[in-house]
Symmetry: C2
């Protein structure tokens, strides 16, 4: 802290603690300067700041006086009522439980069956360091860019998507900071107010406010063993030009279900007939465990009806803030304009880093490690569930991704259950944050270590037994 | 491109180019497999995709037939009308001229007197490479973070702000992707619909849509030699709880004016009296040329009335996407929640890089180079103006930042003037994009090289002479 600020702090303390009362005269500048071993100009700076704060005042020819302290000041003038201001803003606060979970996910003393992130050991430190060295050696001025993102990265993503059958030119790809931002851009840049978005129930998307903010109505459609209930969807009133479908067909968050190839074809046929635009959230695709997932809806889309969302948050690290959106070129151009109006694009360094990870093959190598480990951990969690929870719950093994969706047999107060788990040191995601009315929990095997997972499931068993 | 996709492309081409007409039978799978030197399963995959696209159809026991081509398909079914969809969305498209300028700023054949970025030679390549090496050696899993941003970076920014007299704890700092995002967060997270925001005129902010999107009314207040016209501001109706002031008091964009210390005190006294929240955009502060700018409004803010916006886009590179917002802790917490709901925070790599640049002193070293160079270039541009444009215009020398605001003497059609400059290879920013009704242009001396600047000003002179 600079010297003059130290003086500001010291004097402010003396005044606010009542050592220097209102009306008292300050020591001379010289005296203060000597006390703090500084020169007089530093003291003058400090006094100016305290004058600006309203604590001190100079009286002509007489010296500097204390005219206020913290309390007299706050009684005289009150600051803007921020609380009142924020209360009516466009963006509502997060759901209380979601906010709590977000905060608790950083607590090291809790067992994290909540966290939808890879375990620390799977963080590709060496791969990132190698890629960063490469990035360092090729540095050039980045600039603002054009909103679409680095062309090199878009080419690599285009190649990456070809691996699962999606042919998309780099011009039809927009780099975003993650799936959430992709959806935000769609919500404010494409959907009109009063539109209806059809959405899986339960769905991760219910835990964020984003469509609500843009005044878009949400219609939940149930999720069965084969994913989205297609029949239920097409029993709804679908208004051309003001409806869209959001769907997460592969390793759905939170239920872990995956739509079969057959179901995907049926869905896309019907969506085509109803001219219903589709937002395909496919961020878990690279995390297949047993075998590759059926091809994306986007591969069944000759007319540019699908906006495809991908991400590296789940496979590398969310701190990169790199994902992408692929769709018809005109739509992508429009959304890149919206992007330029909100945050001017993604970090160039992050983009260059992911580009290097993809082009060097380090990403694919890393994925192989991730898949092996996820398989082990999924097996382990399933075994724990069989061993301890068979009496209390049912579940389905996900074929990829991070999550197992556990449905409890008995009617349970899930708010209370969430709290009891927490009090026992276990953080889980209760189904209600995904808008599920049944007693269910989402368990993640991605983050926590095996020993802790066991400890947690045993605790959950005890809670269910006593509850 | 994978083999099966090559087959898809080849067959699609044959159909669409009319080589294989509708109704014709496809060669056998074996024949196709031989032709492409692949095995039959690859051919089957390709045919499945083409069936999904509606081009092919299997007839039981008879083989595969061409049933559609591109044209018959598009006649039968049309894709969603994206154009219609986007037309009514929450976010309006950018102003046409602003969009044009954004695109033209990447054109190497134009002389860029428009660009508000440092010249390529001032890109701190070596400094960034050094910092990245440091970052590489300290890599740890990043994760989602808490919305506020990396604590190490927030500590460095807190220290940085102390240099100009702002005392802010790291808890009161939110890392953002730049000033634009800071303002977006404030618009959706704090201001209520129907609020009024007072704003300088001309102002950079008029060239973006962001307050319009959030349904916030904009009241322009004129800018004089001393910056914002304070008297004019307080002649307005200021409704407590639904008004705020946006102000860019230091090297204002686009006019280059700076408010004096005296004016700042008057402004803050009045804002305090009216309980008017202040958004202080101070992104050019570190780019002082002749002497340090007067202390920020934030230093005159004992009650937490000011939200302070800073950025590294102008001083290092906009591609980093790192800026910050400082204000009362509760407000910052609220905005970090909004951030978590829109894009989950800034790139960790970018944050770590800036942290290293600040803590190592490399940022400060770089700034010294930047200031020396900006001084040279400003002097040069002023000399050019004196030499060539004295007859046609007046201007004021900015004491920092990037811009000189040039007011033309004669009534001029500025849309036409902008176009004529462009046709002569010179890109300038016309005053009307900043909502200025007078004939004026913003010239940047930051980006273009000296020889080109001279060429451009001579061309502008010719245009004014003939216009």
């Amino acid at each position: 802290m600079p010297r003059y600020l130290q003086i500001v702090h010291a004097i402010r303390e003396k005044i606010n603690q009542g050592e220097w009362v209102i009306g008292s005269k300050l020591p001379t500048q010289r005296a203060i300067a000597e006390q703090f071993h500084v020169n007089r100009s530093t003291v003058i700076t400090a006094i100016e700041i305290l004058k600006a704060e309203g604590l001190l005042e100079g009286k002509a020819g007489s010296g500097i006086y204390v005219v206020n302290n913290r309390w007299s000041l706050s009684a005289a003038i009150s600051p803007p009522d921020w609380e009142d201001l924020t209360q009516w803003s466009l963006q509502p606060p997060s759901d209380h439980t979601v906010q709590t979970i977000n905060e608790l996910e950083s607590r090291k003393d809790l067992i994290q069956l909540s966290k939808g992130e890879l375990e620390p050991d799977l963080f590709p430190k060496a791969e990132i360091a190698t890629a960063l060295t490469r990035v360092s050696s090729q540095l050039e001025q980045f600039g603002y860019g054009n909103g679409l993102g680095d062309i090199g990265l878009r080419i690599e993503i285009s190649k990456h998507m070809q691996q699962y059958g999606v042919c998309t030119a780099p011009e039809s790809i927009l780099i975003v900071s993650g799936a959430l931002q992709a959806l935000t851009l769609i919500a404010v840049g494409i959907l009109k107010k009063g539109s209806t978005i059809f959405l899986e129930n339960p769905s991760y998307l219910h835990s964020v406010n984003l469509f609500r903010t843009a005044e878009i109505a949400i219609k939940p459609i149930s999720v069965g063993e084969n994913g989205l209930n297609i029949e239920e969807l097409f029993q709804q009133k679908i208004i051309k030009g003001s409806s869209a479908l959001y769907v997460n067909p592969t390793y759905q968050n939170p239920t872990g279900t995956t739509m079969s190839s057959e179901q995907r074809k049926v869905l896309m046929d019907k969506c085509r007939y109803f001219q219903l635009p589709v937002i395909e959230d496919d961020i878990f695709r690279d995390l297949w465990i047993d075998e590759r997932a059926p091809a994306p809806l986007k591969t069944l889309d000759p007319f540019g009806q699908v906006l495809y969302v991908g991400s590296f948050s789940k496979t590398i690290d969310p701190g990169l803030r790199i994902g992408w959106l692929a769709g018809p070129e005109d739509v992508i151009k429009r959304l890149s304009d919206v992007r330029m109006q909100t945050d001017y694009g993604s970090s160039y360094i992050s983009q260059a880093l992911v580009r290097e990870l993809l082009s060097s093959g380090l990403y694919e190598q890393h994925l192989q490690k991730v898949r092996t480990r996820l398989k082990e951990k999924r097996e382990f969690l399933l075994q724990l569930l069989r061993l301890h929870l068979s009496e209390y719950a049912t579940w389905r093994a996900a074929t990829g991704g991070f999550f197992i969706w556990v449905s409890l047999h008995k009617k349970t107060n899930m708010h209370q259950f969430f709290r009891t788990c927490l009090n026992n040191g276990v953080l889980i995601n209760p189904g209600f944050i995904y808008n599920d009315s049944q007693p269910a929990i989402r368990l993640s095997y991605a983050y926590e270590e095996i020993g802790k997972m066991e400890e947690a499931i045993i605790k959950v068993k005890e809670i269910l037994k006593n509850g």
